[in-house]
Amino acid sequence: MTNELPPGLAIQKVDERIMTLNVGPQHPGSGHMRIIVQIDGDYIVACDPDPGYVHRGEEKMAEYRNYITNIPHLERPVIHDSCNVLYPYVLGVEELLGIEVPERAKYVRVICSELNRCIYIMYWLAIYGIFLGHSTMFMWPAGDRELLIDLMEKISGARVTHAHFVPGGVRNDLPPNFEEVCLRQVNYFEKRIKEYAAVFYDNPILISRTENTGVLSREDAIRLGTTGSVLRASGVDYDLRIKEPYDVYEELDVHSPVMKEGDSYARSKIPWLDMLESCNIIKQALQKMPKSGSVRVKLKPNPKGKGLDSVYKRVESGRGSLGCHIVSDGKVEPYRLKLSVGSFRNLIALPYLLKGEKLGNMPSVYWSLNYWPVEADR
């Protein structure tokens, strides 16, 4: 693989010198998973990610609920990004049932999706900050998230688990006066996150610490099937909002950030640039959105699929491409539902990135993979 052991470690393959460390699941630097690292002194010689600590069997549960009651629990994997997690499912069900969505609902969905992406990335960034020992970067995003959470609360009534997207549109129309409030909050939010550069992304210690660590080359990023910010940090310009636009992304001007370095620094900067882009998209969507109109197609109760059918829909979530494979057998419940999540796909890169890396780089490399343990476990 790309990251060979540094010279000098070759003679250190004596088993006694290698210490096996269980990092996680109850570890401040692991999230809800376990990484079994084998260290020789300060270097990691092998790493084995072991997700599954919070496995809940969402896919099994989905087989027992009908298409509508699946909505609230399918957004559970990433409650901070709940709209985006639900998005491919809703798109898939619409294709299965053959529903056409009103124009305004599509715009509302895009706005919700982008707001949720920012909310998720802020949470991710907060944890990235504290993983690097930067406590201010923990507190600031955790606080500034509230701006957008308030917006989402205005839209859907819930702070994190919105269950706002339904097949056929969105649950409710936007509240009155929403456009102005949203524009104001998003503008302030944008100003605020630009300040993060001064304290975090331009911080010389941070740069020297994360640059050239855990480098994922372009070829490996493609070969390992990584997605989202990990892929784009390695120089692959692949964003589903541009490549396979769903809903109204075609009509919006989306510029997805791409960096070539492929190191932890690039991987951690891409989500931040994503947020700035999201703010841009929200503003555009607010402008182009039809000012009135229906936001939901009425469905008949307990909709059913049309015989044996399968559909695979994917959207660009906060962690990359998020696919939903629904197999229907003409009943009210899905026959099989599979979420192909970005976290799970990026996790495959972890052993290769950590091999030969220093133990001090473990948290930054691990979390720069834009990994969300709960989502990977489903």
Binding site: I11, Q12, N22, V23, G24, R34, D40, G41
Partner: protein
């Protein structure tokens, strides 16, 4: 007042030792009181296992463990003494004749050179 006798000089340091002792005498009761008033439940032997992030520990905690930066420790052992030796010169600098500086400069040069060589060697991790 400059003390002359060796014992007197050493005696000056007794207060440092006293302070050390006082801290022990004052702080040990805090631990004892804590031990007395805090709960002690031996309900579960797992509770007393060493921290291993919720897993049952594998292997000993005290193992052969080699950090790759071991040369720095070796360098410390050498240069700590050398650095302290400089104080003998530094504290008497104002009274010494200026000619005494030249050998010290030579000494500094040797020390600097030795340190550079040691640092160069420490960069070659193959040894460790």
């Amino acid at each position: 007042m400059k003390s002359k006798l060796v014992g007197e000089i050493a005696g000056n340091y007794s207060t440092v030792v006293l302070m050390f002792g006082f801290a022990i005498v004052a702080m040990a009761p805090a631990l004892l009181i804590s031990r007395m008033i805090s709960p002690r439940k031996k309900s579960n032997p797992v509770k007393f296992l060493p921290m291993e992030c919720g897993q049952v520990p594998s292997g000993e905690g005290r193992t052969h463990f080699m950090m790759q930066y071991y040369p720095y420790i070796l360098m410390f052992v050498i240069f700590d003494v050398v650095a302290i030796f400089l104080y003998a010169w530094g504290s008497a600098l104002l009274e010494l004749p200026k000619s005494a500086t030249l050998p010290i400069l030579g000494f500094l040069a040797i020390m600097f050179g030795a340190m550079s060589f040691a640092l160069y060697q420490s960069g070659r991790r193959r040894i460790w």
